[in-house]
Subunit: 320 residues, 2 copies
């Protein structure tokens, strides 16, 4: 059935990939993006499609938002301040761009009688978990970053709207996602730095931080499947792959592909920065139980990402 999907942050990395998937499935798509980090070129294909509509606007602009949500069938709320690392430099940003904006999206839905929302949360909300891999019903966590705290606040708001206003919510707790149009994170940073200076690489932390990365198309498969299959009031899913790598492993793949042999300089701490979780690895049995399997392994995902970055070096000049 033809439906209209409203995608916040639809000009971003994951958002624009979702736009293309939905349009190729002959759905109607409305993107709402303030282009603070989104890029219009990611929507090049979409803009030529009659089933596509674009709002260049901010989610703090409640009036435009309320108009834009009118008549849509479901919301994919992917817009966020994804700048986890520098949260401490601007403590209001996560509150405003994540928590308050999510409230605005939910209110726009309520006013327009739109009741289905999918939301990109994060494995960071488990803080520094005591259980690895970490399941969705892990012990009540303690937050360690303003980013995680704000995403938890968003999850909680969505859940309360599900209970209070009959919404249906799909909450996806991601590990890091990479792939085509990836524009921030370890692989991006290392790649940019090494193109800039192939002789030396400064690494935050001791390089032993363990991270899990998921390929963007696998991530989309999981979200689309869950929304199709699950009919609960609040549906919470971890999304990630079965294993993890160390930051050092990424560095090996990247330096090999770039054919450089930089001197590695580690800042040395266990954590890359304050609030960085030294070990994110999620238990994904729940999403697997409904039939999802990631197709791309971590190092293959890193390799695909590198190919895209090297074919699109202009992204390194963009301000994110």
């Amino acid at each position: 059935m033809l439906k209209t999907h409203f995608i916040t942050g639809g000009a971003g990395f994951i958002g624009s990939n979702l736009v293309d998937r939905l349009l190729s499935d002959e759905q109607r798509v409305v993107v709402y993006d303030n282009f603070s980090t989104g890029l219009e070129c990611f929507l090049q294909q979409a803009l030529a499609n009659p089933n596509f509509k674009l709002y260049k606007a901010d989610l703090l602009d409640v009036e435009t938002l309320n108009q834009a949500v009118n008549g849509v069938d479901m919301v994919w709320h992917l817009a966020a301040n994804a700048d986890v690392r520098f949260g401490l430099e601007h403590p209001r940003k996560d509150l405003e761009q994540n928590t308050i904006v999510t409230h605005n999206v939910l209110e726009a839905m309520r006013v327009n009688n739109v009741k289905k929302i999918a939301f990109s949360s994060t494995g960071s909300i488990y803080g520094e978990p005591s259980i690895h891999p970490t399941p969705e019903n892990a012990p009540f966590p303690i937050q360690t970053s303003l980013y995680g705290a704000s995403k938890l606040a968003c999850e909680a708001l969505i859940q309360a709207y599900c209970e209070g206003f009959g919404f249906q919510g799909y909450i996806f707790r991601f590990v890091s996602v990479l792939g085509e149009r990836y524009t921030h994170g370890h692989v991006f940073d290392f790649c940019r730095k090494l193109i800039d200076n192939p002789n030396e690489l400064h690494v935050l932390g001791n390089g032993r931080q363990r991270k899990s990365y998921m390929y963007v198309q696998d991530c989309l498969d999981a979200m689309l499947l869950a929304v199709k299959q699950c009919n609960g009031k609040v549906n919470v899913f971890n999304l990630g792959v079965d294993d993890y790598i160390e930051v050092n492993d990424s560095i090996t793949v990247i330096t090999k592909r770039l054919e450089v042999s930089p001197k590695l300089k580690y800042s040395g701490e266990e954590r890359g920065w304050i609030g960085d979780s030294p070990f994110i690895w999620l238990d994904t049995s729940l999403i697997r139980s409904i039939g999802w399997l990631p197709k791309v392994r971590i190092l293959d995902g890193v390799a695909k990402t590198l190919e895209w970055l090297l074919s699109n070096k202009w992204v390194f000049a963009e301000r994110f």
Copy 2:
């Protein structure tokens, strides 16, 4: 040692009782309250004390807040929209009065280099828990009310400031509190209704909702002890009593004391209202392990509250 305590919501029920306790312990106290539900008469004693200072101001007024926090030693952040039941009628209120205001308090502390905060959270953040009594590390809950969602957002913000800015946080998850100066909740509502009309009492829900109530002085004992004894970065404690009663039990005590025999009319549902948890009972082993014991049992607490309400019937005419 003489310290200066900054108490938000210090003209309210729990806040004003804390003010009196700290002043009688010869501490300095600064109260910041917008008197939206607080009452100046609760501060009558305090206002005569040279160690007491009062700001009549709103926590959304960041400039006044930043000035007021200057020079204090610790913050007791008790101000909140405590109107759990009507959250759905004004969905922005919890966001603004709880989440955003807590952000403002934390920022005022950061700017003024004040690093210790105690916070009144709630057992509502466990939603409808699977474990009774519910421990602090219960499985990651799903929120069922905007009030609970906003308190969780506050907890998360405090935790992130502890990790990111070296704060020390004391988070207290209360059951319902009652006692002298109690001005909202079941006992208050029933009492007011029965004085108004002794022949009939409308009860939300089926009367079988199980609730735990804690006496306000026991609550203060617990908070003061935890702040004194515990030196962790983030200290989370459930506060409550060892047992629970049904709403019907409260009704029996109240009608007996008022010497009335109303016809009881139940709305009939398992929950009193959307988002009402039919069973709040917290595991308090953690706070007991540091030496706290509640002195007043639930029904004695209800009785003390009734005596205070009947000696201060003017509160029923106040707008809360």
